[in-house]
Symmetry: C2
Subunit: 328 residues, 2 copies
């Protein structure tokens, strides 16, 4: 089985040149949860996301005498978790060649939003590597390679709606994302921060624990695949009520698989449920907004522009994103 | 198919005489969730409970000129939901015979505990009917018949641990409860009331909705059956850590099946999760107590006598029950 990096990269990389790239973060409306191959980071099911416009990561690569990684302007200890991951990912491209670089990572996601930055981080890093080593790989191939850094990074190469196809190839060469060409200018996202301590378990570990121990996990992959297709159809039809109900149900089902894990995995906290209860109460009174939650306590809402004032009234601290209002 | 009541009752009932009976409420440590036959109230899986000693229902039946139902000393409107259910259940026994009775029901469950009383109610009613009509049915048959009133009533005919076997007979003649002869004098239960409004959906409706719509329901019956056997083994071995972990996981899995229903069914509220988070924090610091939750927002804890002081400190408003400390 050919390694994916060997398959798409030239045998020798040129000396690095300076390159900068930006990638938006993304939120899955149809979740990725569970791997069919942990080594290749291959998912059990396809997923569909919306990108977060100007909330993302800008990464610059520069020639250097030795590898150096900075985050938000601060040079990191090479032994830090972040620097180790970045260098390990670079090494997949360099495959033994001595091509030291300096990697400058700047996240534009407000800390208050409580969003993970690994998706935009690995996508921006991949794009910057592509530029620095003059690879000119098609975006689909960059998306495929970014999967080795973080599964959700595959979806961060485009703005708007993006679908990551699970693929069928055991080597994972067909498991990458593609843009869903269906702009929806009134589509909005709100991020509602729920204060909690640090995450108990990374999403990678939580996924593995759930797949291994949750008696309710087995039906998830088929349902998630069906949800992904139905959610894409609702996006293309701009059928917001169907999209919202499906996205919320898909997220709750993912969290249900974790809640049934043994022992239980509960990223959602009492504060998350307070937000959901307030949302459901408002929805019963007419507000068209739906929730989605990832491997953390924060709650994200989706709604259309016309519901914006009501969402702000209900959740004054929410950060609101206009995913199609991005101007580079 | 013979009707279960025809099968075990004499063709004609005698005139009623006064009879009084008591039945304790019970809490399932291994849950009943999902029916294989809604008409016969037959469960998809076996369940195991602990009875609540002096918390239950006392029912008296007296001869009368016409049916009359009172609850906690108050005569009810015959059209009320409670009176209608009691008379409909009586009619299953009377099968067209004119044998009017007065039914006096007194619940000894503190309202503050927020516990349902249908289990003890239908068990006490069945026992009182047995006495009033001089039936002298074995308890197993009374348990089997009480299933038509409320599934969980089958487990309220005994103190201590009780197992309701799902049975295999399509007519349900073998689906009744049996006592698990394994007294555990140090076993304790705490009821922690979580304030919420009225229940959104009865457990009967919630069960049906979950079975019909939850993509995660299909693995539940097999897992619940396995949990029931493992929980019984832990009870018999007095292995509290195993029992507690299994009971908590079983309850969370049941709630996970509901959370994945479409639309989601969430009997647990933000306040329930606050209790669970406080419990998990205390458990991480050494407290040996585990939670179980039914079709409502309240949380029940199980623990051994030695943990009582810590449980009281953590949840000062908890009601604590000694299930083997009952003296009639």
């Amino acid at each position: 089985m050919t390694d994916a990096f060997d398959a798409v990269l030239p045998a020798q990389l040129p000396a690095p040149q300076e390159a900068t790239a930006y990638a938006p973060s993304n939120i899955a409306l149809s979740k990725y949860w569970g791997k069919r191959d942990a080594g290749l980071n291959l998912p059990l099911n396809s997923s569909l996301s919306i990108s977060l416009a100007e909330w993302g990561t800008t990464t610059t690569i520069l020639p250097a005498d030795r590898d150096e990684v900075s985050l938000n302007g601060e040079v990191l200890d090479p032994a830090s978790s972040f620097a180790t991951k970045v260098v390990a990912y670079l090494d997949r491209f360099r495959r033994g060649q001595t091509l030291p670089v300096r990697v400058e990572t700047v996240n534009t996601i407000p800390t208050a939003a409580g969003l993970a930055s690994s998706a935009s981080g690995f996508a921006a890093l991949t794009k910057a590597i592509d530029g620095a080593f003059a690879l000119s790989l098609p975006e689909a191939q960059q998306s495929m390679l970014s999967r080795y850094g973080s599964g959700s990074a595959t979806r961060s190469f485009w703005h708007g709606f993006v679908r990551w196809d699970r693929g069928a190839d055991p080597a994972g060469m067909d498991s990458f994302a593609v843009p869903v060409e269906a702009p929806w200018l009134d589509f909005r996202i709100a991020l509602i921060k729920v204060d909690t301590g640090p995450k108990a378990q990374s999403s990678r570990d939580g996924m593995g624990h759930t797949v291994a121990t949750s008696p309710l996990f087995p039906p998830w992959p088929d349902r998630a695949e069906a949800d992904c297709a139905a959610i894409e159809a609702a996006v293309r039809a701009q059928d917001f009520a169907t999209l919202g109900a499906l996205a919320e149900a898909n997220a709750l089902a993912m969290h249900a698989t974790m809640m049934a894990a043994r022992p239980a995995l509960t990223y959602l906290k009492a504060g998350s449920w307070q937000v959901l209860e307030a949302l459901w109460q408002a929805r019963a009174e007419g507000l068209e907004a739906y929730a989605t939650m990832d491997a953390g306590a924060n709650v994200k809402l989706i709604f259309l522009k016309e519901a914006g004032a009501d969402v702000r009234r209900l959740f004054p601290a929410a950060e609101i994103i206009d995913p199609f209002g991005y101007s580079p």
